[in-house]
């Protein structure tokens, strides 16, 4: 039960900031540019440029650093693993020895660069989800995919599926929590016991949950149909995405930084 309160799906951090109000399409496109840059850049100077840029962005987005760090927690293990593998198992010029293990210069450089790249990658991506609500995100994706409709990509349907899925995740977590509490009140134990007992307890959670999901899906379909939903053809939108002057400015500044980072990063 405890686990659910710590899970922050979607991870949207609701404050008002320049970045929160920017057009989601801009943020998605810039994310792709930044990710590309991260893979092009190949030395520390380039990464210093990007880190500085991200630092500014985090400040502008008013996200506390503790949240950024929390987002990094799940990858600590992977980063450490990468570092160790590279440090000790890359051939090249030795710079230090620990017993039978030898650290090489190439290993040190590659390992650190790869780890930094990975950490920055996670930070940029989480910046997008911190500053963009799931609904804005799907709206942005739909809008960006629209040109692909010509080659039969079902942009609207994909976005609608994403919207519904995102909309249902919190309800499902809440519902799970509720049913779990009801069964725990009847003496069920989801945390200990042998396999057989746990499976039986899990059934007491899953059956009511699935009944609920099917009921909800049915009701949603009915509600959409009774409000004349019939696909994306000719449907107008409530929130029209617009690029404001500030957004263009954000885009320009970011591109400028990225170009500098690429130049520095390929020296």
């Amino acid at each position: 039960m405890r686990a659910f309160s710590k899970l922050t799906i979607g991870q949207y951090y609701p404050v008002k900031s320049l970045l929160h109000e920017a057009d989601p399409r801009l943020k998605i496109v810039l994310l792709f540019f930044i990710l590309t840059t991260l893979f092009v850049v190949n030395n520390f100077l380039g990464f210093i440029f990007i880190s500085f840029f991200l630092l500014m962005t985090i400040l502008a987005a008013k996200i506390p650093f503790s949240w950024i760090l929390r987002g990094l927690r799940p990858i600590i293990f992977i980063v450490l693993f990468t570092l160790i593998i590279h440090f000790f198992f890359t051939a090249g010029k030795p710079i230090a020895t620990f017993g039978p293990l030898v650290v090489t210069e190439e290993g040190f450089k590659n390992g650190t660069l790869l780890s930094v790249r990975f950490i920055l990658l996670i930070i940029v991506t989480s910046l997008l989800t911190f500053t963009t609500s799931p609904i804005e995100l799907t709206d942005g994706i739909e809008s960006l995919l629209t040109p692909l409709k010509k080659i039969k990509v079902p942009a609207h349907e994909l976005a609608m599926m994403m919207t519904i899925a995102l909309r249902f995740i919190p309800s499902l977590l809440l519902e799970t929590d509720r049913i779990m509490k009801a069964q725990v009140s009847r003496g069920a134990d989801f945390e200990s016991g042998n396999l057989f007992k746990r499976a039986r307890n899990l059934i007491s959670l899953l059956i009511p949950l699935f009944i609920g999901i099917f009921k909800r899906a049915d009701e949603l379909a009915l509600a959409m149909e009774s409000r004349c939903y019939r696909g994306g053809e000719g449907r107008t939108r409530l929130r029209v995405l617009t690029m404001r002057h500030g957004d263009w400015l954000i885009g320009m500044v970011t591109l400028l930084f990225l170009i500098m980072a690429i130049f520095a990063g390929r020296l």
């Binding site: 039960m1 309160s5 009801a182 009140s185 009847r186 059934i203 007491s204 009511p208």
Partner: protein, 285 residues
């Protein structure tokens, strides 16, 4: 004291921008055999509060004692859940077995009762909610009516043999027959079986008629705590919070303001009628 809360506070999602303090420094206790009504406007923290009674939520500050023992350290969570049975809102959503018998038996099974004991408990739990054992035990819970499903779910908690039953809006969404069925059984459980009952409800007529004591929660704090008469006399405060007052209480208070000498603590149609008739006769004399 069966249940005792000392300065309990609780916050959802603490240390995030979404933090929301749902319970603020609540002190409150329930004695064995009491019938307590817990009322409050939407979002006042009623459902959050009752989850502290059986250890589903741990208070951020303060402590919860059951029979004078602290949950977790001095009394095990399983024992607390056996002693304090909690019936959540729409409890029929927790049904999952293919027969009524198996579903009601879920609790006793978790308490590792013997087969004979389980059968005995299921039999008496179904009786307590007024369902015939032989008629219902082999039916699928999903073929029952809404009111019957709800009574089966309540029986599932009663089968744990609790000394206190906590119910979160047990009558919401039922028709008047379903409501009455559940309420009469609750009343009997309290009067005849000596079960302590804590009832959350938005229906003030229901509360006034059934309970010995009303606790009013508003924005996570206890605003009033007393007999129905004492609490419903604060009609203006209650209305300001967005709560109703029982219709009879409203009528009697208004008559009193106009100078009629009527008692204020009547919540049954016949008594109210008689007292008004009496007052009118006295006046015409």
């Amino acid at each position: 004291m069966l249940i005792e809360l000392k300065n309990v506070s609780f916050t959802y999602m603490p240390d995030t921008p979404l933090a929301q303090q749902a319970i603020k420094n609540v002190g409150f206790s329930v004695r064995t055999g009491e019938f307590v009504g817990l009322v409050g406007p939407t979002g006042s923290g009623k459902s959050t509060l009752i989850q502290h009674f059986n250890g589903l939520l741990e208070p951020l500050a303060g402590e919860v004692l059951i029979d004078g023992r602290r949950i977790g350290s001095e009394i095990s969570a399983l024992l607390v859940r056996q002693k304090i049975g909690v019936v959540f809102q729409f409890p029929e959503n927790q049904l999952f077995e293919d027969t009524v018998f198996k579903d009601v038996a879920f609790g006793p099974c978790n308490l590792k009762c013997s087969d004979e004991e389980i059968e005995e408990r299921v039999r008496s739990a179904l009786k307590m909610v007024g369902l015939d054992y032989f008629e219902f035990k082999d039916r699928s819970p999903f073929t029952l009516s809404g009111g019957e499903m709800r009574r089966v779910a309540i029986a599932g908690v009663l089968a744990m043999n609790p000394s206190c039953l906590v119910l979160d809006e047990p009558t919401s969404g039922l028709d008047s027959i379903g409501k009455r069925e559940i309420l009469t059984h609750l009343e009997r459980l309290n009067k005849e079986h000596g079960l302590t009952i804590i009832l959350i409800s938005h229906d003030m007529n229901e509360i006034a008629r059934m309970v010995d004591r009303v606790v009013v929660l508003n924005e996570g704090k206890i605003e009033f705590d007393g007999s129905p008469k004492e609490v419903f006399l604060k009609r203006d405060d209650l209305l300001k919070m967005g709560l109703d007052v029982p219709e009879y209480a409203s009528l009697l208070i208004k008559l009193n303001e106009r100078g009629f000498d009527v008692p204020l603590d009547l919540f049954e149609l016949n008594e109210v009628k008689d007292s008004i008739v009496c007052a009118l006769e006295r006046r015409s004399r």
